[in-house]
Symmetry: C2
Amino acid sequence: MTSQGLLSQANGIPEEINGLRMTRQRQEIYKLLMGERSHPTANEVFMRIKESLPNISLATVYNCLEALVQHHIIRQVNFDREPSRYCPNLDEHGHFHDEATGTIHDVKFKPGINLTDLLDLPPHTVIKDIEITLRGQLSAS
Amino acid sequence: MTSQGLLSQANGIPEEINGLRMTRQRQEIYKLLMGERSHPTANEVFMRIKESLPNISLATVYNCLEALVQHHIIRQVNFDREPSRYCPNLDEHGHFHDEATGTIHDVKFKPGINLTDLLDLPPHTVIKDIEITLRGQLSAS
DNA sequence: ATTGGATCAAGAACTATTCTAATTTAAATT
DNA sequence: AATTTAAATTAGAATAGTTCTTGATCCAAT
């Protein structure tokens, strides 16, 4: 144990988040996701993370991403059957998938909107998670 | 061409829907989906369709499902990275995934709701498709 | 009847992901 | 500081859903 408390490392990432020990690999992957908010796939993370961790394996990237997801540090986002993407934005939001460029944009809800109020849910339903995906194009104007 | 128009077959399925020729295999798969609205996977369709088409192959089931989807006759529904499911309900609707039983329920929107109005979309966005997925439980009682 | 294009069947191939087993690292304890 | 223990990492094999390939079959139009 260091004597400095949570923010004990040079890169500003705590030793532990939500009960998950932040190893070097997890730190770097988390930092990368925070940096470029491009919703990369595991493989894209793998390729880019090699700059800081040349010996990392793809399995470790998957392991780390899964650990981060399960401890609610990042979110996993799926579009159809495409490779999973990973997102550091924990606010409730949807995803707009621009078909022309393949890029993904976070979409906020307008203030005061509670999605479940708008749906005809079966009675006694407890919703744990909502996912909203939009597909379309940014029309050139 | 028969002389009876669209509904020319005993089973009530037209020879062609949305420009897709309805072969025997496509008919049977479509009929099956219409019958049990249980959002089956391709493999579930494969197993059940063997009763009426004992020689059908899994590849054909995939081909038929893809053709039906592309001609907007059925919808493909994905939950995370689980196997794709198929749904004959073309009305705009979401899906509630009951974690306890694994079953899927269609969820209608309350009348007068236009989802895109509630979202903070980038300007000049043309939405082609919206997908809404809920995960949770039907609480006992 | 013949031709040509679409459809189907069977199995191989592909790809994203997970698993396995061995090694390394880090933390806790002596 | 050395030892023990558990967790994390690595590399590659395995898995599962889906797609691709090739050859056979069907069907509609000539």
